[in-house]
Amino acid sequence: MTIILVLLIILTLLGLPLFIALGAGGIYASIESDLDPVGLIIELYRLANQPNLITIPLFTFAGMTMAAGGGPKRLIKLFDALLGWMPGGLAMAAIVSCSFFTAFTGASGVTIIALGGLLYPLFIQSNYSEKFTLGLLTSSGSLGLLFPPSLAILLYGIVSGTSIDELFLAGIIPGLVLLLMLALYSYKSALVWHAPAHAFSLTKLTRSARETVWDILLPVLIMSGIFGGFVTVTEAAAVTAGYALFIETVIYKEIKLYDDLPKILIDTCKLVGSILIILGVAMGLTNLLIDTQLPSRLLGLIENHISSQLQFLLLLNIFLLIMGAMMDIFSAIVVVVPLILPLALRYNIDPVHLGIIFLANLEIGYMTPPVGINLFIASQRFGKSIFTLFRSTLPFLLIMLIWLLMVSYIPELTLWWR
């Protein structure tokens, strides 16, 4: 048994697609437990009974459509007009634009690719240091992860069975706190370098607001629709996707139905396929692990050494930071959540709070070596080494770690609405 498991782990580390590794693990575990591997297909087919699952392709499509339709450019223009007059204003504009955009594209790297290229020369021209620019743009690739309609929140909700509406609501304040902390750091840094800020222009702001009004309406529609009780999350996803397509093809005319739409559709399917196939295949394996009492054995082991909720949270943070640095966020959600959830419940941690802690850790993992995906994407985008980028992100990493402690140990930040 050990030989096969070790072999699978080695193959996974050598680049075997994760869903294949999990699938092979599932088949092997079924045979070992004298169970019919058809059970894995039954578990996979349970996906088709998850009503919230259709939100993933629909919200992803909305994000991809906006990315292809010039949304990033319009957003930067608006937030620069709104905040660019302050010291560090451009950085603040970048932080807000990136988080807005990541919320729709699910921190899949699209933010760094779409916005990073636009922002990098702007920062350098505006006297920002290269180190700060690289650090900010690399970190900002995962900033909006806690804002609706984040793909990671949707996936966490589906895997853990937690209400997606509640998770959306819980993520807003922690997300805003992080933006504020990073904005303050940008303000302070810009004062040191005397980065020039442009004069505030109401005309410029009005003009860019008029241009962006359709984009800005989108999150307003989603949030008021869901939290106002007018639409369900699945309905909101359908409306968002339809709306994004409508504004980009009819209003902005940035996307041509015959020339551009097929590529957007295919890119969406590739992204969704690569995430959901892991979810489908892993469902069988995690159920087998649960059947073998793995979570209860883990719980027994942990209870011997850890007595308080505080200690558990600390251990959880360390564990998740390591996982975040080793695994992609979507795989980590699929593989780790079913094992962690019973433990967290035992220590009286609310599943919604756990979700936000979980995603906050993984958000940081995105920029942590060895496999922090933001580092790799930024390395390709800006032509810098991983080491240079990691060094640049260190101040941001530190701020985010302080924020993580706040999110973990002040549950009121996430559960204020209860």
Binding site: G15, L53, P57, V239, I266, K270, G273, S274, L276, D328
Partner: protein, 165 residues
């Protein structure tokens, strides 16, 4: 000659996957919008639409996953690959693709067994779901076949020519 033939099949398979994936997403979006409109404006909806849309997500998943294999875009924990040299990386590709093809073939076999079981016992009111669930064996077959074609042609035709979508 033999590799060219397999490569041609690979190109055709990609076209087919793109067609299924893109069409499924368009239908999913259209049906979801129809359902939202009916529910909110006329206070009714078709239960069959829910069944179809949920299965369409499976269509998108399998076809999207097959297309992701083509672009080597699957999620991986490739800690080691980022530090090994390109020659070794290239050598590893084929065995990993073969393993992937075999694992998907095993899933394909069990998916067929699952579907046959469903076919035998499925009640009359679940016939639509039964036929839509054919995507499970079809999806794993597509994945297995795609990985096989990639493994067979990766050395002679390593990169794919982007076809019109």
């Amino acid at each position: 000659m033999y590799f060219n033939f397999l490569y041609t099949i690979r190109l055709k398979l990609i076209k087919l996957e793109k067609l299924f994936a893109g069409t499924s997403l368009v239908i999913l979006l259209t049906l979801s919008l129809v359902q939202v409109t009916l529910r909110n404006l006329f206070d009714f909806g078709f239960s069959d639409i829910d069944v179809i849309t949920r299965h369409l997500v499976l269509f998108i998943t399998f076809m999207g996953a097959a297309l992701a294999s083509e672009g080597n875009q699957h999620i991986k924990i490739d800690c080691i690959t980022s530090i090994i040299n390109d020659t070794l990386k290239q050598k590893l590709k084929q065995p990993l693709l073969i393993i992937s093809s075999i694992v998907c073939a095993v899933f394909f076999w069990h998916a067929i067994r699952f579907w046959l079981g469903e076919y035998e016992y499925s009640p009359d009111n679940e016939q639509l779901a039964l036929y839509l669930s054919l995507i499970l064996p079809a999806g794993f077959f597509t994945l297995s076949f795609h990985f096989f074609l990639l493994s067979a042609t990766i050395n002679s035709q390593p990169t794919i020519i982007e076809q019109d979508e």
